[in-house]
C-alpha cells in the first residue's frame, strides 16, 4: 500500500511538473489563482498595462490574472527571499538581478524552466540574457532586460574629442593635452577585468568558475600566462603615467556627475544608470560608445566588460497552482509586446530578439542602451564569472595597474608574472 502511495505521489508530481513546463499558449487556457508579485516600483506600470490588456480579452473570470503587487528593488528581492522564501506575502513570481540566481538555485528556492517553455525562451532571447539565467544547462529565469554593463560616456560637445574615443591611448593623451580628466574606477573588480579579458588577450571566458565533485568553487583562470602578463605590464605603465599626471582618475557615480558638472571630466567609464543624471548636465552633448581599444606592438585590443540582466523567476516554495499562474504571467511579461511596453515606460532595453529589432525600439533607443548593446559583444556574464572571491582579486589587480610600483606583502618589488600568479592562486584554489 505504502509503495503504491509513493508511486502515486511520484506520478502526481511528475504530472504537475509536466503541466508546469507545458506549451506556449498555456496562459490562455489555465485557470488562474491570485498570486503575489515582487518587482521594482517602476515595473508596476508595465505589469498593470500588460495584465489589463490580457484580462480585457478574457471572457471567463477564472482565466484572468489577479495579482498583489509589492515594490521591492531588483537587488533586494533575491536577498530577501534567500533569508525566508515563505515569509508572509512571499511572491510566486519575482523580478531579480541575474547575480542572485546561483544563490537562490543552491538554496532550492527557484523553479527550473523546462520543456517547450525553455525552448521558446532560448530561441527568442539574446544569448547573453539566456546565459545569465542558465546554470549547468538548466534555465531558472525569464529574461526581462539585458541592462547591466559598462561602456564609455563622453562629452561630444568638447571639440576634437569624438575622433579620439576609439583608442585608449589617444583619449588619455587628448585629455592630458587639454588639461581635462577621464574617469575609470580601475581599482574596482567590476572594471579591472576590462584589459586582460579583452577578446584579443585572455577573452571573456577566461574567468568562468566551476564546481568540483565536492561542490567547492574553483577557477581555471590563467591570467598569469604570457598574454596576461604582456597586457598587464603595458596597461600598468600606461595607466600609472596618466594617473600620476592627474589625467586618469577613479571614483564613484557621484564623482562622475560632479566631474561633468564642473567640466573637469570629458569621458567616463560607467553604465546605463548614469543616463538620467548625465543627460540633465550635458543635455545634447551627452554621447556614449563602446569602450576604446589599446594597442600593443601594433595590435589592437578591444576592452572587455561585464554584462548582466534582470529576470523573472518562480518561487519554488509556493503551491503548484500559484507557480503555474506565475509561469504563465512571466511568459506574458517577457514576450515581445511587454518588452516594448517596458522600453516605452521605463527605458529598459529589450532582450527579446524581435523586440530589439522592432522600430518601436530601434527608432527611440537611448544613448546608453545603444552603447551597451555595442559593448555587450565583448562582454561576459558577470554572475557566472565573478563569484565572491573574485572581487578582492580584481580590486588588487586594478590597484596594481595604477600604483607606481608592484610590491609583495613585505614591500619587496615583484614582477607582473609573479604578482598575477599569486592572485590567480587565490582563485584557483578549490573552496
Amino acid at each position: 500500500m505504502k509503495k503504491l502511495l509513493t508511486f502515486g505521489t511520484a506520478l502526481l508530481s511528475t504530472l504537475a511538473l509536466v503541466a508546469c513546463g507545458g506549451g506556449g499558449d498555456a496562459q490562455e487556457n489555465i485557470d488562474k489563482v491570485k498570486i503575489n508579485v515582487w518587482a521594482t516600483a517602476a515595473e508596476q506600470q508595465v505589469i498593470d498595462a500588460v495584465i489589463e490588456d490580457f484580462n480585457r480579452k478574457q471572457t471567463e473570470e477564472s482565466k484572468k490574472f489577479k495579482i498583489e503587487f509589492t515594490a521591492v528593488a531588483e537587488g533586494d528581492t533575491g536577498t530577501t527571499l534567500a533569508k525566508d522564501p515563505t515569509v508572509d506575502g512571499a511572491p510566486a513570481l519575482f523580478l531579480c538581478a541575474d547575480d542572485h540566481i546561483p544563490n537562490l538555485q543552491s538554496l532550492n528556492i527557484v523553479s527550473e524552466i523546462k520543456g517547450a517553455r525553455k525552448d521558446k525562451i532560448v530561441a527568442e532571447n539574446a544569448k547573453i540574457a539566456v546565459d545569465s539565467a542558465t546554470i549547468d544547462g538548466k534555465l531558472y529565469g525569464y529574461p526581462v532586460t539585458a541592462d547591466n554593463g559598462y561602456f564609455l560616456w563622453y562629452n561630444k560637445g568638447f571639440e576634437g574629442l569624438e575622433s579620439k574615443i576609439g583608442s585608449l591611448e589617444d583619449l588619455l593623451k587628448f585629455a592630458k593635452d587639454n588639461g581635462k580628466q577621464v574617469l575609470m574606477d580601475v581599482p574596482n573588480g567590476f572594471y579591472a577585468n576590462s584589459f586582460i579579458m579583452s577578446p584579443e588577450a585572455n577573452g571573456p571566458e577566461s574567468l568562468l568558475w566551476k564546481r568540483n565533485d565536492e561542490d567547492k568553487v574553483y577557477y581555471e583562470t590563467n591570467w598569469d600566462n604570457e598574454k596576461g602578463v604582456e597586457v598587464s605590464e603595458y596597461i600598468a605603465e600606461l595607466l600609472t603615467e596618466y594617473t600620476n599626471s592627474g589625467t586618469l582618475i577613479t571614483g564613484d557615480n557621484a564623482k562622475i556627475t560632479a566631474g561633468f558638472e564642473n567640466e573637469t571630466l570629458i569621458a567616463a567609464v560607467s553604465g546605463t544608470w548614469m543616463e538620467s543624471s548625465l543627460s540633465g548636465i550635458l543635455a545634447e552633448d551627452l554621447a556614449a560608445d563602446k569602450l576604446p581599444t589599446f594597442t600593443i606592438d601594433g595590435k589592437a585590443y578591444q576592452m572587455a566588460s561585464f554584462n548582466g540582466s534582470k529576470l523573472y523567476a518562480l518561487n519554488k516554495t509556493r503551491p503548484v497552482e500559484e507557480q503555474k499562474t506565475a509561469a504563465a504571467l512571466a511568459e506574458l511579461l517577457t514576450a515581445k509586446e511587454a518588452q516594448l511596453i517596458r522600453f516605452e515606460k521605463r527605458q529598459a532595453l529589450p532582450c527579446n530578439n524581435e523586440a530589439a529589432n522592432d522600430p518601436r525600439y530601434t527608432e527611440h533607443k537611448t544613448i546608453g542602451g545603444a552603447a551597451l548593446l555595442k559593448q555587450s559583444a565583448y562582454g561576459c556574464v558577470q554572475a557566472k564569472v565573478a563569484e565572491g572571491r573574485y572581487w578582492d582579486v580584481g580590486a588588487a589587480i586594478g590597484q596594481a595597474y595604477i600604483d607606481s610600483q608592484l610590491k609583495d606583502g613585505d614591500g619587496n618589488p615583484m614582477t607582473w608574472a609573479q604578482f598575477l600568479t599569486a592572485q590567480m592562486d587565490i582563485l584557483r584554489a578549490a573552496r
Binding site: W38, T40, A41, A42, T70, A71, V72, A73, E74, G75, D76, T80, K83, D84, V87, D88, G89, N253, A254, K255, T257, A258, E261, N262, W273, M274, S276, S277, G280, R346, Q347
Partner: protein, 297 residues
Amino acid sequence: MKSLKTGRIISNTIIYVILAIMSIVWLLPIVWIILQSFGGSVGDKARLIPNTFTFNNYLYLFSNFTGITHTQGDNHSLDGYFFGWFCNTLIVAVLSCLISTLFVLGTAYALSRFRFKARTIFMKVNLVIGMFPGFLSMIIMYWVMRDIFHLQGNYMSLVIIYSAGAGGGYYIAKGFFDTISKNIDEAAMIDGASKSQIFWQIILPLAKPIIVYTVLTSFMGPWGDYITSSYIIGLQNTKNWTVAIGLYQFTTGQDIAISYYTQFAAGAVCVGLPITLLFFALQKYYVSGVTGGAVKG
C-alpha cells in the same frame, strides 16, 4: 613669578588648541550633514558647502503634503514614504520607551528593596545573559514573531522586542535606588504606606535623574536601531519601515543611492531633531539634586 604666569599661558594655549581641534573633528560631520541637507545638487556630495542651496530636500521628505517629488531619474519608488516611516518610528520609540522605563524602574526597585529567594541568582544569571550580544537572538526572534505572534512585517513587533527584555538593564537604576536611604521607606511604612505607594509616591519623585536617564536611553535605542527593525520588518514592507531602514535605502538602494544623497542628509537632520528636543526638555532634571537632606531630624 613671571615665569609661572608664562608657563600657565603656554599650557592653556596648548590645551585650548587641542580642544579646538577635537571639537572641529567632532562637529564637522554634523555641520556637514546639515549643510548638505540644504544642498541643491548630489554632485556637491564631496564639498562642505554646497554650490546651491534649496529647501526642497525637506519638502521632498514630506511630499505627502507638499507634493514635491524626486526630480532625477524615473525611479520614484520612495516618494511620499518618509512621513509614514517617521510616524512608525515615533510610535515604536514612544511605546517602547514608556514600557521599558516602567520595566527597568520596577525591576530595579524590587531588586534594591526586597530580599527574596533566588534574588542573587537572578542577578548573576542576568549578568551572564547580558554578556551575549543581542543579535545572537536575531533568528529565533524572527521565527517567534513570524509564527507565534504573526507580527512579522509589522512595526508593533518591534515594541515587544525592544521592551520585553528591557528589565534586564536595571543595574544603573538599582544602584541609584540603593543610594536612597531605606529610612525613608521605613518612615513611610510606619505611616501606613504600601510597597506600591512607596514606589510611586516616595521613591520615584526622589529619582528624577535616573528616570530621565532611563527615558532617554530607552527612547534612543529604538529610535536609531537598524538591525532589528530591518530583519523583522523586511524590505518588502516599504510602508512599515522605520526611518533607519528608509535612510539606509536612500544611501544604498539600487537605482536610488546615486541621486538621493541630499534627501538623506535632510532625513538625518529630521531624525536628530526629536532626540535633541527630548534632551533639552529633560536636561534640567539631569542636574537636579539627588536625595541629599531628604531625611533629616
